[in-house]
C-alpha cells in the first residue's frame, strides 16, 4: 500500500484498502474557522446531540475576517467563541494564532499518520507532515463533530517524483505552479498526490507545506509526503508524541495510477496567469504586466522562510510608486520571528504595509481588495475571476521572491534579474 492507503486502512480498522473502496474512517482531528464554522455550528445544533464526540479533537481558528471588518463578521466570531466555550474546545482567537493551516501544525494539532479533516479546502496542507488531511464542508464538519467518523472513497494515487536542485530564487512555489500547469486544474481530481524524490527529501517543511497546500488546485483529495527527520525536527516539542515513521512509508510495490517526473534544475520562476491556476508560464514568457498590488502571505506562502526570501529581495529598495505591497505573516509565531530577525523593518523601510496574521486579501473578503482593471501579483493559491475583489481585476500567482521583485519594479519581474544587496 502507499502511505495514503495505509493511513485510511488503519483509520477504518482494515488490514488493507484499495482504490475505489468506500471506508468509514475514524477522525483524529477536526478544524473549523470563522467562515465555515458558523454553518457547522448551526448544523451541529440540528443533529440533536448535546456534546461533541471529543472536545480534544476539535480546533476552532478565527483567521478569515479578522479582526472583524463588519458587524456581520463580528457576529460570526461571537458564535464561534460561544460554541468553543460551550463545548470546551481549543480556540485560537484574534492575535493568538493566525492562519488555520499554519497554526494547526505550529501548535501541535498535526501528527504524521493522522486523519485530519477541516472545513477549508486547503486542509490538504498537513499532508506535508505525513497526515491524511482533506477539506470538507460545514455540514460534514458538524457530522464529524457529532460522530468522530467520516466516509471516504479510497483515492487512486499519483506519484510526483521530483529531482534536481533549485536555482537561486526558484522555490517550491514555482515547482507546484509548474506541476499544476502540466497536470491541469482537474488533473488529480478525486486522487491522492504523493510528492517524493530527492528534491522533496531535501526540502524544508515550509516548502513541503506549499506543495501539499496547492494539491487541491489540481483537484486532489490530498497531497502527502512521507514523514522523515525534517518532519521530526519541526514537530518535536510541538506534539505530545510521534508515531513510528516506518509504518508511514509507501511500500516498494505500492500501486500508483501514474507517476510523473519533474526536474527543477533548469526551472525558471513560474507565474499562474489569470484566471486559472493551471494557466502557468515561465516568467520570461509572461511579457510586460504592470501591477497595482503585491501580496506576500497566505497559507501557501506566509511562512518565515517566505518572508526571509522576500526581505532579501526588497532590502534597501522601495516599493514602486503606484504599487501597494502587503506583507502578512501566516501566524503570530511567524510575525514574532520576522520581528526578531528585522524583516518587518526591511518591509516597512521599503514602503510595504505589514498586516496582522490572517488570510488577508487571498479570498477577497477582508482587506486589500482590488478595483476593476487592477492587477495583483500574489503568493496565494487562487486567481479565479473575482477572487480578490472586482470581477474585472486580475490576479497573478507567483513565489515570494517574484512578488517582492515585482513590488519593487511595478511590473511582473524575474527576481533573478534584480540586483540584491547582501
Amino acid at each position: 500500500m502507499n502511505i495514503t492507503e495505509k493511513i485510511l486502512a488503519k483509520a477504518s480498522g482494515k488490514k488493507a484498502v484499495h482504490p475505489g473502496e468506500i471506508v468509514d474512517a475514524n477522525v483524529d482531528m477536526v478544524m473549523i474557522h470563522d467562515l465555515t464554522g458558523p454553518l457547522a455550528v448551526e448544523a451541529f445544533k440540528k443533529i440533536g446531540v448535546q456534546k461533541v464526540w471529543n472536545n480534544k479533537k476539535i480546533v476552532v481558528i478565527l483567521d478569515h475576517q479578522v479582526p472583524a471588518e463588519s458587524v456581520k463578521a463580528a457576529e460570526l466570531h461571537k458564535t464561534m467563541r460561544q460554541f468553543a466555550k460551550d463545548q470546551n474546545l481549543q480556540i485560537y482567537d484574534v492575535g493568538k494564532g493566525g492562519i488555520c493551516h499554519q497554526v494547526m501544525p505550529e501548535k501541535g494539532h498535526v501528527t504524521p499518520g493522522a486523519v485530519i479533516v477541516g472545513a477549508d479546502s486547503h486542509t490538504c496542507t498537513y499532508g506535508a507532515f505525513g497526515a491524511f488531511a482533506t477539506g470538507i464542508g460545514s455540514t460534514e464538519a458538524a457530522a464529524v463533530m457529532a460522530t468522530g467518523k467520516i466516509w471516504f472513497k479510497v483515492p487512486p494515487a499519483i506519484k510526483i517524483n521530483v529531482k534536481g536542485n533549485f536555482q537561486k530564487y526558484v522555490t517550491p512555489k514555482d515547482l507546484i505552479l509548474s506541476i499544476i500547469g502540466k497536470m491541469g486544474v482537474d488533473g488529480a481530481i478525486y486522487k491522492s498526490t504523493e510528492f517524493t524524490g530527492p528534491t522533496i527529501k531535501k526540502m524544508s517543511i515550509a516548502g513541503r507545506m506549499t506543495l501539499c497546500n496547492m494539491a487541491v488546485e489540481m483537484g486532489a483529495k490530498n497531497g502527502i509526503i512521507e514523514p522523515d527527520e525534517t518532519t521530526r525536527k519541526f514537530l518535536e516539542g510541538r506534539v505530545k508524541a510521534l508515531p513510528d515513521f516506518d509504518a508511514l512509508k509507501s511500500d516498494k510495490d505500492a500501486a500508483y495510477e501514474s507517476t510523473v517526473e519533474f526536474d527543477v534544475s533548469k526551472m525558471q520562476p513560474q507565474v499562474a496567469c489569470p484566471s486559472s491556476v493551471d494557466n502557468v508560464k515561465p516568467i520570461s514568457e509572461v511579457g510586460n504586466v504592470p501591477i497595482e498590488q503585491a501580496f506576500i502571505g497566505s497559507c501557501t506562502n506566509g511562512r518565515i522562510e517566505d518572508l526571509r526570501l522576500a526581505a532579501e529581495v526588497m532590502k534597501g529598495k522601495r516599493v514602486k510608486d503606484g504599487v501597494r505591497a502587503l506583507i502578512i505573516p501566516a501566524s503570530q509565531e511567524v510575525y514574532r520571528q520576522a520581528l526578531n530577525e528585522g524583516l518587518l523593518e526591511i518591509f516597512t523601510d521599503a514602503g510595504a504595509i505589514v498586516c496582522g496574521s490572517a488570510c488577508g486579501p487571498c479570498l477577497g473578503g477582508h482587506i486589500g481588495l482590488l478595483a476593476a482593471g487592477e492587477s495583483c501579483v500574489s503568493t496565494s493559491n487562487r486567481n479565479f475571476i473575482g477572487r480578490m475583489g472586482s470581477t474585472q481585476a486580475s490576479v497573478y500567482l507567483a513565489s515570494p521572491a517574484t512578488v517582492a521583485a515585482s513590488a519593487v519594479t511595478g511590473k511582473l519581474t524575474d527576481p533573478t534579474t534584480l540586483e540584491t544587496k547582501p
Binding site: 468506500i22 467562515l35 465555515t36 458558523p38 454553518l39 448544523a43 440540528k46 443533529i47 440533536g48 446531540v49 478569515h64 475576517q65 463588519s70 456581520k72 463578521a73 460570526l76 477541516g118 472545513a119 477549508d120 479546502s121 486542509t123 477539506g135 470538507i136 464542508g137 460545514s138 455540514t139 460534514e140 458538524a142 457530522a143 457529532a146 460522530t147 466516509w151 486544474v185 482537474d186 481530481i189 478525486y190 483537484g219 483529495k221 486559472s276 479570498l363 477577497g364 473578503g365 481588495l369 487562487r382 479565479f384 475571476i385 473575482g386 477572487r387 475583489g389 470581477t391
Partner: protein
C-alpha cells in the same frame, strides 16, 4: 425527496469555481436566501431571475472547484437549482451538495449534448437522464445507496438525526 427531476437546463463551461458561484465577500451572510441572490452573478447578473421556477444546472469538467464553502451549493439550491449535472465535480463541492440535499450527477458527454433552454429529465436512482428537447438519452453514474439515502432524507443532518433516532429505538 423524489428521485425524478424535470426542468430547463442552464449550461456553463468547465472549471466553474466556487468563487464564481459565490464570491468570498458574501460568506458573512448567513441566510441562504440572501446567499442565493448572488449565485453565479459574476458570470450572469440575471442568473437568479432565470432560476426561480426551477432549473437543472449543467456543467463541464471539474464543476465547483476551489473553496470548501458550502455556501456555494446552498446559494444554488436556494436560487432554484434542483440538480447539477456535470462531466465531473470537484470532490468537496460534490460532498457538500449531497450533504445539503442538492442532487449532483456525473454524466460523461453531457456538456456537448445539452444547450441552455433544453428540457431535461433526470432519474438519479435509476441512473438515467434524457434531453427531452433532442431525445438524447444518457446512462449516468449511479450514486451509492448510502448517498441516495442522504438525498432521500433531504441532507446529511436529517439522515444522521433519523439514524440516531433509530439507534435509540
Amino acid at each position: 425527496m423524489t428521485s425524478k427531476i424535470k426542468g430547463p437546463a442552464i449550461k456553463f463551461g468547465n472549471n466553474i469555481d466556487t468563487d464564481v458561484i459565490l464570491p468570498g465577500k458574501y460568506l458573512i451572510l448567513v441566510d441562504p436566501c440572501e446567499l442565493a441572490k448572488h449565485a453565479l452573478e459574476s458570470l450572469d447578473t440575471d442568473f437568479v431571475k432565470k432560476t426561480q421556477k426551477g432549473v437543472i444546472l449543467v456543467g463541464g469538467k471539474n464543476f465547483g472547484c476551489g473553496s470548501s464553502r458550502e455556501q456555494a451549493p446552498l446559494a444554488l439550491k436556494y436560487s432554484g437549482v434542483k440538480c447539477v449535472v456535470a462531466e465531473s465535480f470537484a470532490r468537496i463541492f460534490f460532498r457538500n451538495a449531497i450533504n445539503i440535499g442538492l442532487p449532483v450527477i456525473e454524466c460523461k458527454g453531457i456538456s456537448t449534448a445539452v444547450e441552455t433552454g433544453n428540457e431535461l429529465a433526470v432519474d438519479f436512482v435509476a441512473g438515467q437522464l434524457e434531453n427531452l428537447s433532442n431525445c438524447k438519452k444518457f446512462q449516468v453514474e449511479k450514486l451509492p445507496p448510502f448517498i441516495l439515502e442522504i438525498l432521500a432524507d433531504g441532507g446529511l443532518i436529517e439522515n444522521l438525526r433519523r439514524k440516531m433516532k433509530n439507534d435509540r429505538i
